[in-house]
C-alpha cells in the first residue's frame, strides 16, 4: 500500500469533510425543528392527530436512507409538475436534495428521541404541574420541554453521529462530500484502500469531536439532573 497519495490528496479530503460537516449541521438543525411538532403530535392520544406523525416516522425509519435520497433526487425530478413548480430551483440542486432527504430522515429519528424524553419525565413532575394549576401550554413551556432537552442529550449526540455517517450517501448524488471526494480521488489514483482508510479516519475524528462536545454539555446538565435514560431509537 502506498500512503503517499493520502498525503498528496489530504487537502482535497478536508475540503470534502467540510462539505460533510455542513450537510450534517444543516440537516440536524432543520431536523430538530421539524421533529418537535411531529413528536408532540405523536404523543397525542387522538388517532387523527398522531396518525400522520406515526406514518411519517415509520416510513423514514423503516426504509434505507439510500432509497430516500434516490427518491428525492431522481424520483421527484421525474415528474413535470415538480420540475415546473416553484420548488424546482431548490430540488434541482443535489446539495438541497441531500439536505431535504437528511432532514426528513433525521427528523423522524429525532422525533422519536424527543417523544422518548418527554415520556421519560416522571409522571409525578407532570402532576406537580397540574396541581399548581398550569395550563397544558404552560406545562410544556416551563417544565416538559426544558426537561426533555436535558434528557435528550445523550441520545441526540448519538443521532448526530449517525447522521454524520449517513451523510456519506450524499456522494451517490454527485455531491463532493468526504466520501464523494474520496471516490473522485480514487478515480484518478486507483488506490481505494488508502484513500478510503484516510476518509474513514477523518470521519472518526469528526465523530470524536462531536462526542467530546456532547460530553461537556452533558456534564453541565448533570449538575442538577439525576440520570434519566431513554431508549435510543435505531438508525439506518
Amino acid at each position: 500500500m502506498d500512503f503517499s497519495v493520502v498525503v498528496e490528496y489530504f487537502p482535497r479530503l478536508l475540503e470534502g469533510a467540510w462539505v460533510s460537516v455542513q450537510l450534517v449541521a444543516l440537516s440536524v438543525v432543520l431536523g430538530a425543528l421539524v421533529a418537535l411538532p411531529i413528536a408532540l403530535a405523536r404523543i397525542s392520544q387522538n388517532w387523527w392527530i398522531k396518525g400522520f406523525p406515526y406514518a411519517y416516522i415509520f416510513f423514514f425509519r423503516g426504509t434505507p436512507l439510500l432509497v430516500q435520497i434516490f427518491l428525492v433526487y431522481y424520483g421527484a425530478s421525474q415528474f413535470d409538475v415538480v420540475r415546473e413548480s416553484f420548488l424546482w430551483p431548490i430540488l434541482r440542486e443535489p446539495y438541497w436534495c441531500a439536505i431535504i432527504a437528511f432532514t426528513l430522515n433525521t427528523s423522524a429519528y429525532t422525533a422519536e428521541i424527543f417523544r422518548g424524553a418527554i415520556q421519560a419525565i416522571p409522571e409525578g413532575e407532570v402532576e406537580a404541574c397540574k396541581v399548581v394549576g398550569m395550563t397544558k401550554a404552560q406545562m410544556y413551556r416551563r417544565v416538559l420541554l426544558p426537561r426533555a432537552f436535558g434528557i435528550v442529550l445523550p441520545a441526540y449526540g448519538n443521532e448526530i453521529i449517525l447522521m454524520l455517517k449517513g451523510s456519506a450517501l450524499a456522494s451517490t448524488i454527485t455531491i463532493l462530500d468526504l466520501t464523494g471526494m474520496a471516490r473522485t480521488i480514487i478515480a484518478r489514483t486507483y488506490t481505494p484502500i488508502e484513500i478510503f482508510l484516510a476518509a474513514g479516519g477523518i470521519y472518526l475524528a469528526i465523530s470524536m469531536v462531536i462526542i467530546a462536545i456532547f460530553r461537556q454539555v452533558e456534564k453541565r446538565q448533570n449538575r442538577y439532573l439525576g440520570t434519566v435514560s431513554i431508549k435510543v431509537p435505531d438508525k439506518g
Binding site: 431522481y74 425530478s77 421525474q78 420540475r83 424546482w88 434541482r92 443535489p94 451517490t172 454527485t174 471516490r183 473522485t184 480514487i186 478515480a187 484518478r188 486507483y190 481505494p192
Partner: protein, 227 residues
C-alpha cells in the same frame, strides 16, 4: 477448459447493460463471448460499478475488464490493455435549440460519468469556469439531463448516439459540436504482468475481426463500423 472472468459495468447501453432478467448484455458482452469462443475458454461475466472496476481487477476479483474502457496513459500505469476492440471519441449533447459556445461553458452545469475520459477532459478544460457534476453511472447523467438539472453533457459519442436514437425523449436532444478525442481507442484491461491473457485476447480479437464474427456483432448495434 480454461475460464476467463470478465467484468463489465451494465449501465452503458448499448455496449453493456442489464436485460430484465438481470443478465448483462450488449456489444461488450457479445465481444467477450466471441473472444472466449475463439479461445475455447469458458466465459464468466460479472458486473461491477464503474469506479470499482479497476480496483476490483487489481485485487483479482476477475481477470479482465470489458466495459468500453478507453486506453489512457493514466490507466496504463495501473493496468495493461489489449489492442483496441473499437474506437471511441467524445461529444457534447444537449437540448435541441439551446445553443452553446463550446469553447466557453462558464456558468453552465455540465455532467459526465465519474472517472471517465469525458470527466477528466471536463475537469481539465472547464473545471475552473463551469459547474461540473460527476455521476456514478451514465444512466444517471441522462436522467439529470432530462430533468433539466444539467445544461449539457459530455460522454462517449457512440452510446450517446444510441441514446439519442432509442430514448423515449427522442428528438428533444441533439449533439452539440463535433466529436473530439477521436484517437480514443477502447481496449480490454487486464492486470499488469498478465501478458499471457493479454496475448491470447489480442489474438482472439484479430481472429474475430478476420472470421467476420466481429462484423456481425457490430451490425447488431450500429449500421456503421465502429472499429
Amino acid at each position: 477448459q480454461e475460464t476467463i472472468r470478465f467484468a463489465t459495468e451494465g449501465a452503458f447501453a448499448p455496449f453493456n447493460y442489464m436485460d430484465n432478467t438481470g443478465k448483462p448484455v450488449g456489444f461488450d458482452v457479445d465481444i467477450a463471448h466471441a473472444l472466449c469462443k475463439d479461445l475455447k475458454a469458458k466465459c464468466e461475466i460479472v458486473t461491477q460499478d464503474w469506479d470499482g472496476l479497476i480496483p476490483g481487477l487489481k485485487v483479482h476479483k476477475y481477470d479482465a475488464i470489458i466495459a468500453s474502457m478507453s486506453i489512457t496513459p493514466e490507466r496504463e500505469k495501473v493496468v495493461a490493455f489489449t489492442n483496441k476492440y473499437y474506437s471511441g471519441g467524445v461529444r457534447f449533447m444537449g437540448l435541441v435549440g439551446k445553443n452553446f459556445n463550446l469553447k466557453d461553458l462558464s456558468g453552465k452545469t455540465i455532467g459526465a460519468q465519474r472517472a471517465t475520459v469525458a470527466a477528466q477532459y471536463l475537469e481539465d478544460h472547464y473545471g475552473k469556469t463551469a459547474n461540473i457534476k460527476l455521476y456514478d453511472n451514465q444512466d444517471n447523467v441522462y436522467l439529470d439531463l432530462e430533468s433539466g438539472r444539467l445544461d449539457i453533457v459530455l460522454s462517449d459519442e457512440l452510446p450517446t448516439y444510441n441514446w439519442l436514437k432509442t430514448s423515449g425523449k427522442g428528438g428533444k436532444f441533439e449533439f452539440k459540436g463535433k466529436a473530439f478525442l477521436k484517437t480514443d481507442r477502447i481496449g480490454i484491461a487486464v492486470r499488469k504482468g498478465d501478458t499471457k491473457l493479454k496475448d491470447q485476447l489480442n489474438k482472439a480479437i484479430k481472429d474475430i475481426r478476420e472470421n467476420g464474427t466481429y462484423q456481425k456483432i457490430n451490425a447488431k448495434y450500429f449500421p456503421f463500423s465502429i472499429y
